[in-house]
Structures are given as structure tokens and as C-alpha cells.
């Protein structure tokens, strides 16, 4: 049963299995284990980013395609939910319509970009997605009458998903059973389902062909697989999942804006998560996203402490300024591409 659920792709390492199990349990019971707005918020972000990073890994790790437009697809899902909620009024139907519309739009755009650039050379794809994504980001911030511009959009989600709605009067294990909790579980199970679907896809014959094309596209074509077809399909699937993850994010935050969904910083975050966790294995996405989001929330505090402690030294505090945390992640990123191309997961698997 369990093997079927994870599509026969076991972690293949005791340490990794334990770590994954701990992460799963921690996320599944996050509102009960770590009560508090900030920690539940962090847990929800971890869930969403696991799905998002896993979908990116389908392209980068399994397909060998570098895309810089993943936040664009993520943002399309988020803006889909936001626009539907504004124009259709609050309700589950708006959330559904927005998610589906966002996912379809993302898939269509991915299809067009894929056909255009993957047909010629895979390396074009990185540059073209970078150009298109930044153009879309500019467009979103310019068309403020539709998208709210830089300020973004605030909207209402169904009452059953907000903390105003109470399912029970009593607390359960000291936690209020309210709409916020339901919202968290929507995010959790939504991300879990997306992740399991991706796991199913990469372990299907389609996923195997994709890996074959990554390793040697000439040879794969010679056997009779159209590389363009497989690469474009992978891009579309990946974009759809990213858009759905964006919808979940929009439902959780009740706000969308260019900074939270479309910015290039998030794209870099996704890249870092994939590389640190391990390319070419979806469990890498789980590890990478968890490490990164937790680090993002708590590393800056740590750096602030370190900066204060070393305050009298001449230059070093400048490097430890909490705003410079991206510097250290960049260094970590370069080092991990050099020395651990298979990331944390690859390391753990090799030991055993």
C-alpha cells in the first residue's frame, strides 16, 4: 500500500527515511506540535514550497532543462485565485475556478515557450524563460488596474477557511479547531497530493524516457523518442503543478503581490532549494525546501546575533549583516554544485 502510494520510489537510505518521516510527521501535526502563528505559517510555506520545488525538479533534475520562469507559473496560479475571488465573490467555487484557470493558463504558456525554444536548442530555454518571466513581472506591476500593481491584491476567501469560523467551541490539545486549521490542512493535503502525483510521474515510463533524454538526447531520439515532445510535456506538467502550488499559496496568504509570487528572488530560492536538496530526486525537494524555508526564517536571527557578537572587528560584521544572508546561500549554492551535485539526498544515499 505504502509502496504503491510512493510509486515504488523508496528513499533507499535509512537516515533519509527517518528524516523524511520526521518531516512528514512534523508537517502533518504542525499546528499541534508547534502552536503559534509564525511556526504554522512556516510549516504552510514548507508544504507549498515542497510541491513547487518538486515540480521544478521534474524539469531541472529529471529533464535537464533550466527554467527561470517557474515563479511566473507559480504567480499565475496565485493571481488566478485572487482575481477569481475578487470578481466572483468569496466562495469555494471561486477558488476552484481560479486554480483551474491559472493552471490551464500556465500550461498553455509553458507549451508555447517550450515549442519555441526547446525546438531549437535547450540552452535557449534558460534565456527565453528569463526574458519572458521578467517581462511578465513588469507587466503585472504596470497593469495596476487589473493586478493591483506593486501593492498586490487583497481578497476574501470562504469563511470556513478563516480563523473567524469555529468548528468546535472547545480546544483540542490546546489548539482551536477553527477555519485556519482547516486551511492549513487544505494546504498540507493539497501539497501532499501534488507531490505524490509528481512522484508517480517521474517513476512512470514517461519519467524514465525524460531521464534518458537528459542523459543523452541524441541516443534517445535514435531509439525513437521525440525529445521535443517529452521536454515540452515535462515543462507543461511542471508549470501546471507550480500554478496549483501558487493557488494554495494564495489561499493560505489571502494576498498576492509581485514580491510574494513573481519576484526573481523567489526563483533563486527555488534553485537553491533544488540544488541543496539534490537534483534528480523528488525527496531532494522535500529536504531542500524544509532546510531552506526554516533557515530563511531563523538564519537571519542567527546572523544578527553573530554580527552583534563580532561588532568590534573591522570588516567581518559587514558580511554578517542579516541582509547579506543571500551571499552565504550563494556561496553554499556554488559549492554544492561543485562538490555535491547530488545534494543532501545523494550524499545520504551514497553512505549506505
Amino acid at each position: 500500500m505504502l509502496r504503491r502510494l510512493i510509486s515504488g520510489d523508496t528513499p533507499r537510505s535509512t537516515v533519509l527515511s527517518i528524516v523524511l518521516l520526521v518531516i512528514l510527521i512534523a508537517l502533518a501535526f504542525a499546528p499541534f506540535l508547534f502552536p503559534g502563528t509564525r511556526s504554522v505559517d512556516t510549516a504552510a510555506r514548507v508544504c507549498i514550497f515542497i510541491a513547487l520545488v518538486a515540480s521544478y525538479d521534474l524539469m531541472l533534475g529529471y529533464g535537464g532543462i533550466v527554467s527561470f520562469a517557474h515563479t511566473m507559473f507559480f504567480g499565475m496560479g496565485a493571481y488566478g485565485v485572487a482575481l477569481a475571488s475578487i470578481h466572483m465573490g468569496r466562495g469555494f467555487d471561486a477558488l476552484l475556478v481560479g486554480s483551474v484557470a491559472g493552471a490551464l493558463a500556465a500550461a498553455a504558456l509553458a507549451f508555447v515557450i517550450g515549442l519555441f525554444s526547446l525546438r531549437v536548442r535547450a540552452i535557449f530555454f534558460a534565456m527565453i524563460t528569463l526574458a519572458v518571466a521578467s517581462a511578465v513581472a513588469v507587466l503585472v506591476s504596470q497593469l495596476s488596474s487589473i493586478t493591483g500593481g506593486e501593492d498586490g491584491l487583497n481578497y476574501k476567501i470562504p469563511r470556513a477557511l478563516t480563523s473567524a469560523h469555529k468548528f468546535m467551541d472547545d480546544k483540542l490539545f490546546g489548539v482551536r479547531i477553527n477555519g485556519k486549521l482547516a486551511n492549513y490542512y487544505l494546504v498540507f493535503f493539497g501539497s501532499l497530493i501534488l507531490f505524490l502525483i509528481l512522484l508517480r510521474i517521474v517513476n512512470s515510463p514517461f519519467g524514465r524516457v525524460l531521464q534518458a533524454i537528459r542523459e543523452n538526447d541524441f541516443r534517445a531520439e535514435a531509439i525513437g523518442y521525440r525529445a521535443v515532445y517529452y521536454r515540452t510535456s515535462a515543462t507543461c506538467i511542471s508549470a501546471t503543478v507550480a500554478a496549483l502550488a501558487g493557488s494554495l499559496y494564495a489561499i493560505w496568504l489571502r494576498y498576492v503581490g509581485p514580491d510574494t509570487t513573481l519576484s526573481f528572488e523567489i526563483m533563486i530560492d527555488i534553485l537553491l532549494m533544488v540544488v541543496i536538496g539534490g537534483m534528480g530526486t523528488l525527496y531532494g525537494a522535500v529536504i531542500g525546501a524544509t532546510i531552506f524555508v526554516v533557515a530563511q526564517n531563523y538564519l537571519q536571527n542567527l546572523m544578527g546575533i553573530a554580527e552583534a557578537a563580532l561588532g568590534d572587528l573591522p570588516v567581518i560584521p559587514l558580511f554578517l549583516n542579516p541582509d547579506r544572508w543571500l551571499l552565504w546561500l550563494g556561496v553554499l549554492f556554488v559549492l554544492s554544485v561543485y562538490f555535491f551535485p547530488t545534494g543532501v539526498v545523494g550524499r545520504l544515499r551514497r553512505r549506505v
Binding site: 531541472l60 535537464g64 533550466v66 519555441f116 525554444s117 525546438r119 531549437v120 535547450a122 540552452i123 535557449f124 534558460a126 534565456m127 527565453i128 528569463l130 526574458a131 519572458v132 521578467s134 517581462a135 513588469v138 507587466l139 504596470q142 497593469l143 526573481f264 533563486i268 534553485l271 540544488v275 559587514l318 558580511f319 549583516n321 541582509d323 547579506r324 543571500l326 551571499l327 546561500l329 550563494g330 556561496v331 549554492f333 556554488v334 554544485v337 561543485y338 551535485p341
Partner: protein
């Protein structure tokens, strides 16, 4: 025995289109200028826009040329090229600001020498940085595109953050040297002096580059290396050294472009290199990866189109470049001036 073929060969005259075809890319520039003239109501604003479009195109060309050559020669795609632009701008502008006495005086000689010093400093800094970047970041990942993209992106992040460490997080505003301020009026159109300077510098760089590539021995080796590197190495040339030299030259040009772009915008940020890279990539793609001429034509097209559209429909300026790229890739999937590879 077969009958000997007739000895009166007829020369079929090629049609006009056939003869014109190699020149189509270069003819697109005047075509776009004419379309702009028809679309823009007043001719004086058309002239202003054309000059600023050319200036912008020239600056983009300066930044993009190194990138495209590096790709053509060694199949290395450097996403960190924007870092050189930023560093060049910061070093150059810092020198310029420290020479305040020379830039504030209304003397062309003093202004020019300050500017030259700044450009020289910036190019020196980015050339040194290019050498280090090549050694540390790029050398270990030859032949692996995926890793190159990731690593150079990582390099870009690190350099951007180091700029923030060195110069602080705020953007730096500046004014141009005294004699380059203001505009001259020509045929009723106000043309900023600095834009004319930018056009001039761009043309000089392009012609110099063309001369080096077409008429010197090193240029011959570079062109041959782009076409068939293995053969050039078999002839005994160490292409590796040539490549490092091209990389350093390309980085220095990016630094020059950075200084010029900073003076054009009159503000510099650590992020400027990364944001200009979007245009640079579009230019490199539509020009044909590895082709300097294509890069030049592409840069001018992008600069002109961006300025015309910014005047006619401001919100769609960046989208228009994507549109241009789509149209050109539909017409020529390998770019306007495709590079012939003997592989």
C-alpha cells in the same frame, strides 16, 4: 559514347530577393526606423527617439558582444555576465565621483580625461575580475551547460551581494560630467549630448571589433575557433589561451558598458547588471549565438523598438522585445546571423 555536354552554359540571373537575402538583417534597421517615422506623429520626437534608441542599442551591444563571442568560441553560457556590468558601473562611477573637481569644471579636456580614467579603471577591474571568474567559476564546468548556468547564476548572486557589502545597500545617484550635460537642438528635436557620445563609442567599439576579427591574425584564430575549435587546436594553437583572452576582453567590455549605462541612467544599483541581462539575452538570441554582427543588428533593433514603443504604448515596452524575439525566431530559428559550426 555519350554526347559531350553542350558548352554554352547559361547564367541564370538570381532574383532580386535572392540577391538581397544576405542583407535582410541589416536592412531591418532602416526599415524599423522608417516604420517608426510613419508611426510617430511629430518628426522631431521621432528624431529624438531614434537617437536615444541607437544610443541604447549601442550600449547593449557593448555589453552583449563579449557574451556572444564567449559562447561562440567555447560553448560557455555565462549568466553571470551581468555581474561585470554592475561591477564596472560601480568602479567607474566611484572613480568619477572621486574626480569631482575634474567633472564639475566646464572644460571638455578635463571632463574627457576624467571619463577616460573612470572607463579605464572600470575596464581594468572587470578584466581582472573576468580572469578570476573564468579560473574559479567557469573552468571546472566546461562542457556541462546545466552546471554552467547554475554556477554562473550563483556567481552573479555572490558578486551582487559583495557589491552591497562594499558600497552599501543604497543606490547611488550621479550627474554626468559638465560638458556632457544638456542637449543640443537639431531640426527642432532636442538630442541629449550624452546619447551622441554613446552612439559614437558604440560605433567605435563595433568597428574596432570587426577590424580585429576580420583583419588580424588573432581575429582569424578566434573566427576559426568558433567554426571548428578542434581543427584550430590540431594546427597547434592553444585555443584555451585565446578563450581566456576573449573572456577577459568580453568582461572588460561589459565593464565599459556598465559605466556608460550608469551615466545614461544617472543612477546605479547592484541589481542593474542582472536587469539589463534580460535585454542582453534577447539581443544575443535574436542575433544568433556567437555572431558579433548579428549581436550588433539585434542590439540596435531592440534599442530602437524599445524607444518607439515606450513612446507609443509605454506599458508594453518590454513585451515588445519579447514579441520581436518571437517573430525573429519564427523566421530564423538560429537567430538572424546564424553561426556556421563545422561539427
Amino acid at each position: 559514347m555519350s554526347i559531350a555536354p553542350e558548352h554554352a552554359p547559361t547564367m541564370e540571373t538570381a532574383g532580386l530577393w535572392h540577391r538581397l537575402e544576405p542583407y535582410v538583417p541589416i536592412l531591418l534597421i532602416p526599415a524599423l526606423v522608417i516604420v517608426g517615422f510613419l508611426a510617430i506623429p511629430t518628426s522631431s520626437s521621432w528624431l529624438t527617439l531614434t537617437v536615444s534608441g541607437l544610443a541604447m542599442g549601442m550600449m547593449i551591444f557593448i555589453m552583449a558582444s563579449g557574451l556572444t563571442l564567449v559562447f561562440g568560441l567555447m560553448d560557455v553560457i555565462n549568466f553571470g555576465h551581468g555581474a561585470f556590468v554592475s561591477v564596472g558601473a560601480f568602479v567607474g562611477i566611484t572613480i568619477l565621483l572621486s574626480l569631482g573637481g575634474m567633472t564639475d569644471a566646464p572644460s571638455l579636456v578635463l571632463n574627457l580625461s576624467a571619463l577616460l580614467l573612470a572607463v579605464f579603471g572600470a575596464m581594468l577591474a572587470t578584466a581582472a575580475m573576468g580572469w578570476a571568474f573564468e579560473k574559479v567559476i567557469i573552468q571546472p564546468v566546461y562542457g556541462a551547460h546545466l552546471k554552467q548556468i547554475l554556477i554562473t547564476m550563483g556567481g552573479l548572486i555572490i558578486v551582487e551581494q559583495l557589491i552591497l557589502v562594499a558600497w552599501g545597500p543604497d543606490e547611488i545617484f550621479l550627474t554626468r560630467p559638465e560638458t556632457f550635460k544638456g542637449a543640443i537642438t537639431f531640426a527642432g528635436a532636442a538630442i541629449e549630448k550624452y546619447r551622441l557620445v554613446a552612439v559614437g563609442v558604440g560605433l567605435v567599439v563595433f568597428l574596432a571589433m570587426r577590424w580585429v576579427l576580420r583583419s588580424t591574425r588573432i581575429g582569424l584564430i578566434v573566427r576559426a575557433g568558433v567554426e571548428n575549435g578542434e581543427m584550430v587546436e590540431a594546427l597547434g594553437y592553444r585555443l584555451r589561451l585565446v578563450f581566456v583572452a576573449v573572456f577577459i576582453a568580453g568582461s572588460a567590455l561589459a565593464g565599459l558598458g556598465g559605466v556608460m549605462w550608469g551615466l545614461y541612467q544617472e543612477v546605479i544599483t547592484a541589481h542593474m547588471g542582472a536587469s539589463i541581462m534580460v535585454l542582453v539575452f534577447i539581443v544575443v538570441i535574436i542575433g544568433g549565438l556567437g555572431s558579433v554582427e548579428g549581436c550588433f543588428i539585434g542590439a540596435l533593433l531592440v534599442g530602437l523598438l524599445q524607444n518607439y514603443i515606450a513612446f507609443l504604448a509605454p506599458k508594453f515596452a518590454l513585451i515588445s522585445n519579447i514579441g520581436l524575439m518571437v517573430v525573429i525566431l519564427m523566421w530564423r530559428p538560429q537567430g538572424m546571423v546564424p553561426v556556421v559550426k563545422a561539427k
